[in-house]
Symmetry: C2
């Protein structure tokens, strides 16, 4: 008699559950800003749209809350998470540390040569795009691919999940940090140094570069955000308190 009587085989669910499907659809709308920050999400409306009962919708909202995309207030319902500038900064700080860990582990992984060619090819694309004027969209897309490659090379399921969640929460703001050609030039340098560190198996260097990259991204995004909120908060000459 084997002693695994209480052990359930950890099988990947072949078919996505109903709450997961609903959560995925809602997630698209949130990160795509169809549902803007602060937007309230009501269970009955979602249930009616997807032709299901409120039960699965409630579970879907809990899943989204786990990823930080919605905030659930007891007896008040769910709304799309609205981040303060301080919170955006905090998330970038956490991302910097965990990205550093991720890239260090990859650089120290003997099996890293499997993804190195992919990384090098993508960084070459990045360098090309950074020289081309006005390719901001493509550049952001290429960075996204790079992060996906690195995520796939991360052996830790937990670390991957945490970084994925934090990345979703700040997706809207990450792009703000790459909006100038100057910033993209700096970004390319970081990526080149990172790939070199991974190639050399230099974990400490990979960690340092990764942290610096996210911190730079953080500062640029925050600066942009403050500019945006300032002009948004000045619709009339009303709030001009300081003479």
């Amino acid at each position: 008699m084997p002693d695994d009587m209480t052990r359930l085989p950890e099988a990947a669910p072949l078919t996505q559950s109903l709450p997961e499907q609903i959560a995925a659809r809602l997630s698209e709308r949130i990160v795509g800003s169809t549902y803007p920050p602060g937007q309230r999400i009501m269970e009955q409306a979602v249930a009616a749209e997807f032709a299901v009962s409120r039960g699965p919708v409630r579970e879907a909202l809990r899943l989204l809350e786990k990823d930080g995309l919605v905030t659930i207030l007891p007896r008040r319902g769910a709304q799309v998470t609205n981040l303060s500038i301080a919170e955006v900064r905090e998330i970038f700080d956490i991302r910097a540390m965990l990205n550093g860990l991720r890239d260090r582990l990859i650089a120290e992984d003997p099996d890293r040569l499997r993804v190195l060619p992919l990384l090098e090819a993508e960084v070459a694309t990045l360098a090309r795009l950074s020289r081309a004027p006005g390719a901001g969209e493509d550049y952001v897309e290429a960075v996204s691919r790079l992060n996906r490659i690195l995520a796939s090379a991360t052996s830790s399921r937990r670390l991957r999940a945490m970084l994925g969640s934090l990345g979703l929460q700040t997706l809207r703001y990450s792009q703000l940090g790459l909006s100038t050609p100057q910033r993209r030039k700096q970004s390319v340098q970081h990526w080149q140094r990172l790939v070199k560190a991974i190639r050399d198996g230099d974990g400490a260097a990979a960690e340092r570069v990764a942290q610096q990259r996210v911190q730079d991204s953080r500062d640029a995004a925050i600066a942009q955000l403050q500019r945006l909120r300032l002009e948004a908060a000045t619709p009339k000459t009303k709030t001009g308190g300081a003479a």
Copy 2:
């Protein structure tokens, strides 16, 4: 007219919701090993015990899954999360990075003097306990208090939540790392250096010390774990392959 029409006031829930209460009770049993790793948790049984319907129980299980205490397999139900040694290591690695961030932010916080006396008093207690033989329980308790103080000094709600969750998941193993007087001696030194770094406002030093402390704790815990699992896997002379 203020523009906060879609904004819900972020009120702290005065009374814990029913799912939260259930989750709290179950959480105690999990971290207290009343429910051992791998133990299956069935909705109907829990519902019957707390005299509620299965709905709130399902939500409670989702809450526990968010904290990593249970694992939910679709159509299979929930079970107490069973961590492999590799996963324990991964969690400690993540904790090291985030503890580093937390303590750096505290050291750089101008408002840190508010908690400094508390920290110094607790570290003094720690030093006393480390010289007393056979005070392992008390030592672990004091370290727990220190971590609570540092958590309360963390301004970032997210960082606090993440560290709390990771701490719960590895609570069972953290104590393993402080089981010898020798380890406790080393631990005290780390805490003393950390408090000094916070007092001096030296963020970089605080981060370095915090990371080292968790990494040492990680190595000690892993070594203990491997020893435990080895002897657990040798109930008879059955698997004794090497003569």
